[in-house]
C-alpha cells in the first residue's frame, strides 16, 4: 500500500530507519532515532512530530508537512534505490460458467480454427513496474506512472494499479504455487513490450501538459508573426515608394529577406523552447502471482496446430486479449502466421 497519509509515511520511514515510534493521538507522534543515524543525517535523536499547525511549540517538537526539509533528510537513502519485490494473492473469485461463450464472443479467429481442450484454475504472474518521469519543456512536470503486464501472454492491465493495491489486503506470503503457474515469457520480451507501452502511457499522461504548451506556443508564434508582419508591411510600403531608386530598392529587398529569415529562425527557436523531453526510469518492480482461469486451446491453421493458454483475469473480470507477436498490440481478430503459428493482428499480417 502507498502511505498517502503523512503520519503513516513518517511512521513507516522512521521504523525503516530503525527508529522507535509511538503514536499517542492522530496528530502527535514521538520518534527516537538511533544515535548513529541522527549524527549521520544531522538530525535530533528525539522528536515530537505534529501534523497540524500549532500556535505554540515545545522543545524538540516539529510540525511536519509535505514541504518539511526533515522529510527529505530522512528519505535520502531511498532517493536512488531500486527495488524488486514479489507477492501473491491467494483468494479471488474465479469465473466458471459460460467461459466458452465469452471466448466465442470476444475472439475471432480469421484464418484458423480452435478447440478449447481444458478450462482450469491456474496462477499467473504479473509484473508491475513503477516509473518516475520528468517532462521538461518551457516548464517542468514530474510524475509517477505504472505499467502492469501479464508475463505469460504480455497483456497490459491498464490503469489497474489501484485495483492490484486494494487486493493486497488479502495478500499471503504463502509459497508461490509454481506447479500451476502459466510459464512466463522471457524477461527480455516482457521488457520490449513494457518499453513500447510506457511511452504510450506517458504520452496520455502528458496530453494536457502538451495541450497547454501547444496553446502557449501558438500564442507566442502569433505574437511574433504579427510583429514581423507589421515590419514586412512597412518595408513593402517603402519598396512601393522607392521603386525608381535602384540602390534603395535592393536594400529594402534584402531587409525583407532578412526579416523573413529572422521570423523563421525565431519560430524555430520557440518550437525548440517548447519541445518536450521526457526522462523516465523504473524505480521499483513488483511481481504479483494471482489465481486465474486458463483456457487451454488448440489452434489449427492449415495442417499445423499449436496449443495456447488464454487467460480469464479475476481482477478485470474479463478474458485477456492475446498480443500480436510483431507489434504487441492486443488482438481480438486473430490471424495465425501460417509458418510459425504466431498470433498476428490484421495490420501486421498485411
Amino acid at each position: 500500500m502507498i502511505y498517502k497519509n503523512i503520519s503513516q509515511y513518517v511512521q513507516q520511514l522512521s521504523e525503516f530507519l530503525g527508529g522507535y515510534v509511538e503514536t499517542q493521538v492522530d496528530s502527535l507522534m514521538e520518534v527516537v532515532f538511533p544515535d548513529g543515524l541522527a549524527q549521520q543525517l544531522n538530525i535530533n535523536e528525539y522528536y515530537k512530530f505534529y501534523f497540524e499547525p500549532r500556535p505554540l511549540m515545545e522543545e524538540n517538537s516539529l510540525v511536519l508537512n509535505y514541504n518539511s526539509s526533515l522529510l527529505e533528510q530522512l528519505g535520502v537513502s531511498l532517493k536512488e534505490k531500486t527495488i524488486f519485490s514479489q507477492t501473491a494473492v491467494s483468494s479471488l473469485y474465479l469465473k466458471k460458467a459460460r467461459l466458452e461463450e465469452l471466448f466465442k464472443k470476444r475472439l475471432n479467429f480469421i484464418n484458423s480454427t480452435y478447440k478449447i481442450i481444458e478450462i482450469k484454475p491456474s496462477t499467473c504472474s504479473y509484473l508491475i513496474l513503477n516509473y518516475k518521469y520528468t517532462a521538461v519543456s518551457e516548464e517542468r512536470k514530474d510524475g509517477l506512472t505504472s505499467v502492469a503486464i501479464n508475463e505469460h501472454n504480455l497483456f497490459l492491465v491498464n490503469n489497474l494499479y489501484d485495483e492490484f493495491e486494494a487486493l493486497f489486503i488479502d495478500e499471503t506470503n504463502a509459497a508461490l504455487e509454481v506447479e500451476t503457474l502459466l510459464p512466463p515469457s522471457p524477461l527480455k520480451v516482457v521488457f520490449s513490450m513494457v518499453s513500447m507501452a510506457i511511452e504510450k502511457i506517458l504520452k496520455e499522461e502528458l496530453a494536457d501538459f502538451q495541450k497547454s504548451l501547444n496553446y502557449r506556443l501558438e500564442k507566442d508564434i502569433k505574437r511574433l508573426s504579427d510583429y514581423f508582419n507589421a515590419i514586412i508591411k512597412e518595408i513593402d510600403k517603402k519598396i512601393a515608394k522607392k521603386k525608381t531608386n535602384n540602390e534603395n530598392f535592393d536594400k529594402e529587398l534584402s531587409r525583407l529577406d532578412f526579416t523573413e529569415k529572422e521570423l523563421e529562425r525565431k519560430i524555430i527557436d520557440q518550437k525548440t523552447r517548447y519541445q518536450i523531453n521526457v526522462n523516465f526510469k523504473p524505480f521499483s518492480a513488483l511481481r504479483v502471482i494471482i489465481p486465474v482461469v486458463a483456457l487451454k486451446t488448440l489452434l489449427r491453421c492449415k495442417k499445423k496446430s499449436r496449443e495456447i493458454n488464454f487467460v480469464w483475469n479475476p481482477i478485470i473480470k474479463d478474458l485477456e486479449n492475446p498480443c500480436c507477436k510483431k507489434c504487441f498490440s492486443p488482438v481480438a481478430n486473430l490471424f495465425l502466421d501460417e509458418e510459425s503459428l504466431d498470433i498476428l493482428c490484421p495490420a501486421c499480417r498485411g
Binding site: 502507498i2 502511505y3 503523512i6 509515511y9 513507516q12 525503516f16 497540524e52 499547525p53 500556535p55 511536519l64 508537512n65 509535505y66 514541504n67 522529510l71 527529505e72 528519505g75 531511498l78 531500486t82 524488486f84 519485490s85 514479489q86 507477492t87 513496474l129 519543456s137 514530474d142 510524475g143 509517477l144 495478500e171 524477461l187 521488457f191 518499453s195 494536457d208 502538451q210 497547454s212 501547444n214 496553446y215 502557449r216 506556443l217 508564434i221 508582419n229 514586412i232 513593402d236 519598396i239 529587398l253 529577406d257 523573413e260 521570423l263 523563421e264 519560430i267 518550437k271 517548447y274 518536450i276 521526457v278 526522462n279 523516465f280 526510469k281 523504473p282 524505480f283 521499483s284 513488483l286
Partner: protein, 582 residues
C-alpha cells in the same frame, strides 16, 4: 521577387505553428532488469515505502495533488494546473481572475482542501457577499467535504464563531462595528475573498478589514479585477503582496497612462509583475464551445378558479403577521403546485399563525385535481420522445407530478435528496437507459453527468436567478454536444411570470454564459438576496399594477447592472487578454 510574393511565402511560414509540440523520450539507465533476473525479492513493505517516498516527493514539489483523490467533482485540466501553480509558484498568495464560468470556486475549493490536507492551513476564513454565503457553505460541504460554520447559523449563535476552524462570513458582517476587531484579532492560516473587486478602494472598510486580518495565505477571487481604473488593481495587489508595485504614486508614475487611468503604460513590465500574482484563464484556453441554448417560456392562463385561489391566498398572506421566510415559502409553493402549499397551510392554520378563513381556502385547494400547468407540461412531454429533465423545487410538487406521470403512463424516474447515494446512481442510470423523464428537485444532483439529455423543463421557478442557472448548468456544460432547450412554465400574473419577464426581456438571462448572472446581480446596488428583493416588491404592492411597475423598475436596475458588467468585462479583456493563463 516583389514584396507581395514574399508575404505569401511568409504566410506559409506561420503554418509551422499548427504542428503539435513533439515529445521525445529518454529512458534512463536502470538496474531493475538485473534485480528481477536475480530473483531475490525484497520485502513488500520496503517496496511500499519506496513508492510512498516518490509519491511524497511529488507532493513536496506540488506535482501531485492530494485534493484530487479527496473530492468527487468533475475537474478540468485548467483548474488542476491553476491549483498546482498557486502552490508551486505563487506560494499561496494569488489573484484568481478566471473569466466567468470557468470555475473559480472549484479552484478555490481545491486549494483550500489541498492546504488543509497538507497541514498548511487549519484556521480558514472565507469572506463573501452576504448573498453568496450559503452557496459557499453548500459547495464546500457537498463538493469538498469541508464543513464551514457561518455567522448566520443558529448553532453558531450559541457558541462563539471563532471556535470553529472553518468559517464563512459575509464581508458586511465581518466589517461591522461589533465584529471588525474580532476578525482582525484572530490569526488565520488562509483567507479567501470572493468577489474581491469589492476591495478596490483603500478607503473602504472592506479593504481595511482584509488588509488588517492576520493571514499566511490569501486568495482573491474576481472575474473583473479592474472596474474603473488601474489603481484598483494596485489596491488589490497591495493586499496580496504589499510593496510589489511600490507606492501608489510610483505605480501611477510608472504604469498608468497620464491621460487615461484605465490604460497602462510600460505594459510589458507591468505584465511581468502581474504574472507573479495573478492567474486569469480564458474561455479560449479552456476551449469551451458549448452548443446553443434556446429558451421558451409558456405563460399559462389559469382557470378562473385557480386565479381566484391565488388572489385569495395573496390577500390572506398579506393580512397575516407571518415572517418573511414563511411568506416566501407559501408564495413559491402556491406557484409551484397547490399540493405543495396544502401541507404548510394546514400547519399554519393548526398553529393559529394565519387567519381562520384560510381553512376554507385549504379545502378549495385540496379539491383542485389537475391544473393548467400540468396540462401544458403533459403537452410538452408528449411532443416528442426525447429525454427531458423536469425540475421542481418542492418535494410535494414532485409527489404530485409522480402521480400525474403514473396516471398518464409516462416513463419517468424520480430524483431527490430523499434517495440514498446508491439509489441516486441507479436513478441516473435508469434515466440514461430507459426512462424518458427525470423528475428532479435541485438538491443532490450536482456533478452528475446528464449531458445525454438536452431538454429541461422548469415546472416551477426559484426566485433566485442563480438557482435557475444552476439547473441549466446540469445539462448545458462541457460534454453537451447538442443544442439545449429550456422550457419555463408559469401562471399568468404570478410572481414568477413577472420575474421571467424581466429576466428575459431586460437581461436575456437564458442567453448568458453560465456564471454571468452572478456578476450581474453583484452589480445591483444592494446586498439583499435577490429572492428577498422579490418578496419585498410583492409586500410593497397593493395590486397587480403596482407589482408590474415595481418589477419594471427592478428590470431597469438589472439592465443597468448588466451594462456595467459588460463594460467592465470588456475593459478587463482588453487589459489582461490571455496573458495570465496557466
Amino acid at each position: 521577387m516583389n514584396g507581395e510574393t514574399k508575404l505569401n511565402k511568409h504566410s506559409q511560414l506561420t503554418e509551422i505553428a499548427d504542428n503539435q509540440i513533439k515529445i521525445s523520450f529518454f529512458p534512463q539507465k536502470t538496474d531493475i532488469i538485473e534485480l528481477i533476473e536475480k530473483n531475490q525479492p525484497e520485502e513488500k513493505k520496503l517496496y511500499d515505502l519506496l513508492f510512498s517516498y516518490h509519491y511524497v516527493s511529488l507532493l513536496k514539489d506540488y506535482d501531485q495533488l492530494l485534493s484530487l483523490a479527496n473530492t468527487k467533482i468533475e475537474k478540468y485540466w485548467h483548474q488542476i494546473e491553476t491549483v498546482k501553480k498557486v502552490l508551486k509558484y505563487f506560494h499561496g498568495r494569488v489573484l484568481l481572475c478566471d473569466e466567468v464560468g470557468l470555475g473559480k470556486t472549484i479552484e478555490a475549493g481545491l486549494l483550500i482542501k489541498e492546504y488543509a490536507l497538507r497541514g498548511l492551513a487549519k484556521k480558514i476564513l472565507i469572506l463573501a457577499p452576504a448573498s453568496l454565503v450559503f452557496q459557499w457553505k453548500d459547495e464546500m460541504l457537498s463538493k469538498f467535504d469541508l464543513e464551514f460554520a457561518t455567522s448566520e447559523q443558529s448553532d453558531v449563535k450559541k457558541s462563539p464563531l471563532f471556535q470553529f476552524p472553518l468559517i464563512i462570513a459575509s464581508i458586511s458582517y465581518a466589517k461591522s462595528k461589533n465584529n471588525f476587531e474580532k476578525f482582525t484579532g484572530e490569526n488565520f492560516d488562509l483567507v479567501v475573498v470572493d468577489e474581491a473587486h469589492h476591495l478596490k478602494n483603500t478607503s473602504t472598510l472592506n479593504w481595511k478589514l482584509v488588509n488588517s486580518i492576520k493571514k499566511k495565505f490569501i486568495f482573491l477571487l474576481t472575474a473583473t479585477p479592474v472596474q474603473n481604473n488601474l489603481i484598483e488593481l494596485f489596491n488589490l495587489l497591495t493586499l496580496l503582496k504589499p510593496g510589489i508595485l511600490k507606492t501608489e504614486k510610483d505605480f501611477k508614475l510608472k504604469y498608468v497612462d497620464n491621460d487615461d487611468p484605465k490604460k497602462p503604460k510600460n505594459a510589458e513590465m507591468l505584465r511581468e509583475l502581474l504574472r507573479e500574482v495573478m492567474i486569469r484563464n480564458t474561455r479560449a484556453l479552456v476551449d469551451i464551445n458549448l452548443p446553443t441554448r434556446f429558451a421558451q417560456t409558456f405563460v399559462v392562463e389559469p382557470l378562473p378558479a385557480e386565479r381566484a385561489l391565488y388572489l385569495e391566498l395573496s390577500a390572506i398572506l398579506k393580512a397575516s403577521n407571518l415572517d418573511r421566510l414563511t411568506l416566501s415559502v407559501c408564495l413559491r409553493q402556491a406557484s409551484s403546485s397547490f399540493p405543495a402549499l396544502a401541507g404548510l397551510l394546514q400547519k399554519l392554520i393548526e398553529e393559529k399563525k394565519i387567519d381562520h378563513s384560510a381553512a376554507a381556502l385549504l379545502d378549495k385547494i385540496k379539491a383542485v385535481v389537475v391544473n393548467q400547468k400540468d396540462k401544458k407540461l403533459l403537452e410538452l412531454i408528449k411532443k416528442n420522445n426525447d429525454k427531458k429533465i423536469v425540475f421542481v423545487h418542492f418535494l410535494k410538487t414532485l409527489e404530485h407530478l409522480k402521480l400525474l406521470f403514473e396516471k398518464e403512463k409516462i416513463s419517468f424516474v424520480a430524483f431527490s435528496s430523499l434517495l440514498s447515494e446508491e439509489e441516486k446512481e441507479e436513478a441516473i442510470l435508469s434515466f440514461k437507459d430507459t426512462a424518458e423523464i427525470l423528475l428532479s428537485t435541485e438538491s443532490g444532483g450536482e456533478g452528475r453527468n446528464l449531458q445525454f439529455c438536452n431538454t429541461l423543463i422548469n415546472y416551477d421557478l426559484p426566485w433566485n436567478p442563480m438557482q435557475i442557472e444552476q439547473r441549466i448548468g446540469r445539462i448545458h456544460r462541457i460534454g453537451q454536444e447538442r443544442n439545449v432547450f429550456i422550457f419555463n412554465l408559469c401562471l399568468k400574473d404570478s410572481i414568477e411570470d413577472q420575474l421571467l419577464k424581466i429576466l428575459e426581456s431586460k437581461i436575456n438571462m437564458f442567453e448568458l454564459v453560465i456564471g454571468e448572472i452572478g456578476s450581474i446581480l453583484g452589480n445591483l446596488k444592494t446586498e439583499t438576496e435577490f429572492s428577498d428583493i422579490i418578496l419585498s416588491l410583492w409586500l410593497e404592492s397593493s395590486d397587480l399594477n403596482e407589482l408590474n411597475e415595481k418589477f419594471d423598475n427592478l428590470g431597469d436596475e438589472l439592465a443597468r447592472a448588466k451594462e456595467d458588467y459588460l463594460e467592465v468585462k470588456k475593459l478587463d479583456q482588453e487589459l489582461f487578454s490571455d496573458n495570465y493563463e496557466t
